[in-house]
Every structure is written in C-alpha cells, then in structure tokens.
C-alpha cells in the first residue's frame, strides 16, 4: 500500500516536472533557494563558531579558539541539574502524551457522538497562543493552591503542549495501516487485547516511537509555558533565558550548541522512525 502511494507520488512528480520553465528562471529559483538556506543556517553556524570564541563577551571579534565555554557549561552544577530536569520532564511528558494520544487515536477509529468536538478539544492547546497556555495554568494552579514545581505544574504544561502534536502524528498512522490482519484475527476469534498487543501495536510501533521522540523534543525545547509555572527546579530553556536576560553570559553559545544537538538528534531519529515502512 505504502509503496504504491510512493509510486503514485513519483508519477505525479514526473508530470509536474514536465512543465519546463526557462533555464534562467530555474537558475533564479536556485539562487533564491541558496539565499534562503543561508538565511536558515548562517546564524546557527555562526553560533557554533562563536561557542569556540575565547572572548568574554558574546559576539565579535573572534579572539581565538578555545573550548573553555564547554568546560564552563559541563562544570556548572546548575546547568547540569537543569539539563537533568529537562530530560526527566521530557521523558515523562513524552510517555504520558504518547499514551494518551494512542488511546485517543484508537478511539478515533470508531464513530462516536461529538467526535469533532473532541478534536477541537485536542487542538485547543495549539490554537491558543503559547503565552496564554502558560498563564491559564499559572492562574489555575495559583488558585488551586498547588505550588509550582517541576513534577506537577511544569509537567502538566508540557503534556498540554505536546499532546495535540502527539495525536496529530500518531493518528494518521493508526488510520493508515492495512486492517486486513486485524480483521483476520478478529474473524478467528482473537480477543481485543490480543489483537492490540500482537497485531496493532507491532504494526504501529515505529509510529509510536517517532511520536514519543518528537514529543520529547517538543518538551525539551518548551519555554513560554514553562516560564509561568516554573518553581525552583528550572528546565534548560528557562535557565538559558535567565542567562540571556541577566547578563548575556559568555557560555550561552556553547550551551545553545549542546541544546541544539540534543533536540535535533532526537527529532532526527524520530523522523527516521516516521519514514519506516509499516509493512
């Protein structure tokens, strides 16, 4: 099924390519694209470059190569703790959000009353601006007299944020796979739980892993909601923000590079799982 889709896509792409624009237009398009990619990557590459700058100020001129800022980052107990906090909350919110999303996606294979209402409910956290997503929780927990802390308020904020994306990633997976095996098992009298654990789950496992990895990455980078509900245990983006606002600390570029590497790597692995063929 999947490969047929790909073949169809290729045929389409071929036809699409049959329109021939003049060479100069193609060239212009490529030059434009090169500028676009430079716009995307230039600043990030510059950040990598600056992270090796010996200078005490964030910026230029480049005073010489040094890895001392990486030492500063890894030898700062505060930063290591923030990193551990972020990874902990990221893992836990990925697990919670993926589980909830899986359950919701299974439900969405049925027809039930109020389906579109539930869909709107799922989409609410991405429709309302992020800053308000943080503030509503600040008010809500403030009046419920729940103290802001990593494993309560921050975790809730992260799951709220991640859940819609987890659902949107996972649902097409559950909706798209060939149900013939599942139906055969049902005809042979297998119990729902057996069908789930032996057939459905193995079929969508790459999708689940991808969803969990994306969720982790989203949570790891979350800032604007977290800042309003954070307690004493800060996450890494909150810590990063503090360092920018307080003093524009010289270790910021090195810290940024480490954060970028972690989130890009998890997303990239998620992406690879996502593209895995279900068959």
């Amino acid at each position: 099924m999947y490969s047929r889709g790909v073949r169809k896509l290729n045929v389409m792409a071929n036809n699409f390519k049959t329109i021939k624009y003049g060479r100069q237009y193609n060239l212009a398009l490529w030059v434009y694209a090169a500028m676009f990619y430079f716009f995307l990557y230039g600043p990030l590459l510059m950040l990598v470059f600056l992270s090796f700058n010996k200078s005490e100020i964030v910026g230029f001129p480049f005073e010489g190569f040094s890895i001392k800022w990486y030492h500063v980052v890894f030898e700062s107990p505060e930063l290591i703790r923030a990193l551990a906090n972020s990874i902990g909350v990221g893992v836990l919110s990925a697990v919670i959000a993926t589980t909830l999303a899986l359950s919701l996606s299974m439900a969405f294979r049925h027809d039930f009353w109020g389906k579109s209402l539930v869909l709107y409910l799922i989409l609410v956290p991405i429709i309302i601006p992020g800053i308000i997503g943080g503030i509503v929780l600040l008010i809500f927990f403030g009046f419920s007299e729940i103290r802001p802390s990593l494993w309560t308020t921050v975790l809730v904020a992260h799951v709220n944020w991640v859940l819609p994306f987890a659902f949107l990633t996972l649902y097409p997976r559950l909706h798209g796979f060939d149900r013939a095996l599942e139906e055969a098992a049902m005809d042979l009298g297998a119990k729902p739980w057996v069908i789930f654990s032996r057939i459905v789950f193995p079929l969508i496992r790459p999708g689940i892993i991808a969803t969990a990895l994306f969720s982790f990455s989203l949570s790891f980078d979350e800032f604007v909601r977290t800042i309003f509900v954070t307690g004493f245990q800060r996450t890494i983006p909150v810590q990063f923000w503090g360092l920018i606002v307080d003093e524009l600390a010289p270790q910021l570029p090195a810290m940024a590079v480490i954060i970028i590497l972690i989130s890009i790597l998890t997303s990239l692995i998620g992406f690879i799982y996502m593209r895995r063929k279900v068959n």
Partner: protein
C-alpha cells in the same frame, strides 16, 4: 479498437489493487475496530477537560473580576474589557501587534512560496535532502533561534564587526537591534517553516495530470502556474498564513529579546500583568481578548478551510 498499451498488465493489476482497497474500505465500515470508544477516550479527554478547558474557563471568569493590592477578588465588572479596548495605550498596542503579525505573515509567504515551489519540483534523494534541511533548524529551540540575532545585530555583533573592519563605519551602529525591524527579522526567522511546509504539501498534492493536460492543450508554463498551480496551492497558503499569524500574534520571546521598548508586542503586555504588575484580572481580560481575536480569525477563515485541516495538512480525520 485501440491497441493495448505496453504497460497494460501493470495498469490492470493497479486497478485490481485499487478495487481491493475500496473493498477493504467498505469492510472497514463493517467490522468495528477494537476497543470501546468511551474507555479509549476517557483518559485523554479527562486530561484535556481538567488541564486544558477548565483553566481557560477559569481565566474567562477571572477577566470579570477585580484586582487590587489586596489580591484578585470575584466580581462581575466589564471594567477590564473597557480598559483593554478603550485605553489608548492598550488599543494601540493591540493594533500594532495585529499589524506586526500580518506583516510577518505576508513576509513569510513571499519568502517561502518560491522555496516550496522549488522543493515540490525536486525528486528522489535530492528532494528528501533539501526537505530535511528545511526541517533541521526548526527542531531547535525558538529561544535559541531568537537569541542568535543578538550576536548578529548587537554592538559586538557580526554585522557591526564586519562593517567596522571594512572601515565603513567608525562606531558600532545601535539602531540594528531593539526596534520593530529586528522583531520582524526574528519572527520571520523563527516561524518561516510553518509557512513553507503547508505550501510545499499542497503543491505536492497537485495532480500532475492537470498540469499535463493544460500543457498538452498548449498552455504556456506561466499560465499553467497562474491558472493551475497557484490556485490549487491556495489551501496550503491559507493554512500557512493562519499558523504563522497565530504564532506571531501571541509572540513573547522574540519581541522580548529583540524588540526593546519600541518593539514590544501584546504577549509582552500580557506577561507584564502577571510577572510585574500582579494585575491578574486585567491580564486575564487582555488574554481573553487575544483569544477572541484568534477565534474570530479562525471563524472567518473556516469559510475556506476547517480548523482541523489547518493543523493536519488537509488530511481527513
């Protein structure tokens, strides 16, 4: 009679799998998927009701309360809202924010469309590579992607350093940072993907047969573009515009870092009610107003595109 084409067999087999698919789709409707919807829905829906909807409704309620130095007290007054919409300071701030969001949306659209178009015309590994290359930066924290402009535009930034070393300027330029322009730059940089991706997906979906037919009938490449490709990519353009607008209208990080006093946006005004002024009731009214604007926007655009399709790239759910 026409002679059977060479790939006749292949076509037949494709047709038969097509009908098999149709068959299994009709069976899909017949055999119920496993699990009871109520049980499956319960955990997620409960979570969303308690931590998603309830806090929002609570904030809606609080927007009618009154805040004083003694705290925020229940009340039923429209004072907060009249202050939101009729005080010059807040009204101007709102208009300015809408203007910035609109401009950013247009800028990302203009910047993204040609790139999306190019990507949709690539094939195979090359395509995968360039699409992935677009994704990569957006998998990193937006705080970092906003921050990165400080060492570019700042006093010790790349641009000032470059110009000084060339001897074009003697002293660093201060006007590069902390104004509306730097906010635009930051916002475009942070949110372009949300425009590029939906446009790319909608261009991908265009049936090549249409293009082929038009070309066969003698349409010039550019009229093919204007009369077929452009109109058919409209859903992608629209969903990209909605997403970028939604994201920028509530922006907080970028204007806070790059905006300075003249570049602050509504998100910063809202945040200061909670972080500095401690006026929760008024802050709630500001937030509710922003949500209302977002809802109105979505309601208007729902004439062309459903809310669920904005976020699912037009996939049926």
């Amino acid at each position: 009679m026409r002679v059977l084409p060479k790939n006749y067999e292949k076509k037949v087999s494709e047709n038969s799998t097509m009908s098999k698919k149709k068959l299994s789709k009709s069976r899909f409707d017949g055999v119920k998927p496993i699990g009871k919807p109520l049980f499956l829905l319960a955990p997620g829906v409960l979570w969303l009701l308690i931590f998603g909807l309830a806090p929002l409704l609570f904030m809606l309620m609080m927007s009618f309360w009154t805040s004083s130095i003694f705290g925020t007290k229940p009340d039923f007054s429209f004072d907060n809202f009249s202050r939101v919409f009729f005080t010059e300071l807040y009204r101007d701030q709102l208009i300015k924010t809408l203007r910035i969001a609109f401009m950013t949306t247009m800028l990302t659209l203009i910047i993204s469309y040609p790139v999306a178009f190019l990507l949709s015309r690539l094939q195979g590994l090359r395509k995968a590579f360039f699409v992935l290359l677009i994704f990569l930066p957006f998998w990193t924290s937006y705080v970092i992607r906003a921050f990165v402009w400080l060492p570019i535009l700042g006093r010790n930034g790349a641009i000032n350093n470059f110009l000084q070393s060339l001897g074009v300027i003697d002293a660093p330029l201060d006007w590069l940072l902390f104004n509306e322009g730097s906010v635009f730059l930051g916002l475009v940089y942070v949110y372009t993907l949300f425009m590029t991706l939906p446009i790319y997906l909608s261009l991908e979906k265009i049936d090549g047969a249409l293009v082929e037919a038009a070309t066969d009938l003698g349409a010039k490449p550019f009229s093919v573009f204007y009369r077929i490709i452009l109109p058919l990519s409209w859903p992608g353009v629209l969903s990209g515009c909605i997403m970028v607008f939604l994201l920028t209208v509530g922006a907080f990080v970028t204007p806070q870092l790059l905006g300075g006093p003249s570049g602050i946006m509504y998100g910063n005004v809202i945040a200061s009610q909670f972080l500095a002024n401690n006026n929760w009731a008024f802050g709630s009214a500001l937030s509710i107003s922003l949500i209302l604007i977002v809802m109105i926007l979505l309601a208007i655009s729902s004439r062309w595109i459903g809310v669920q399709h904005v976020f699912t790239g037009g996939k049926e759910t």
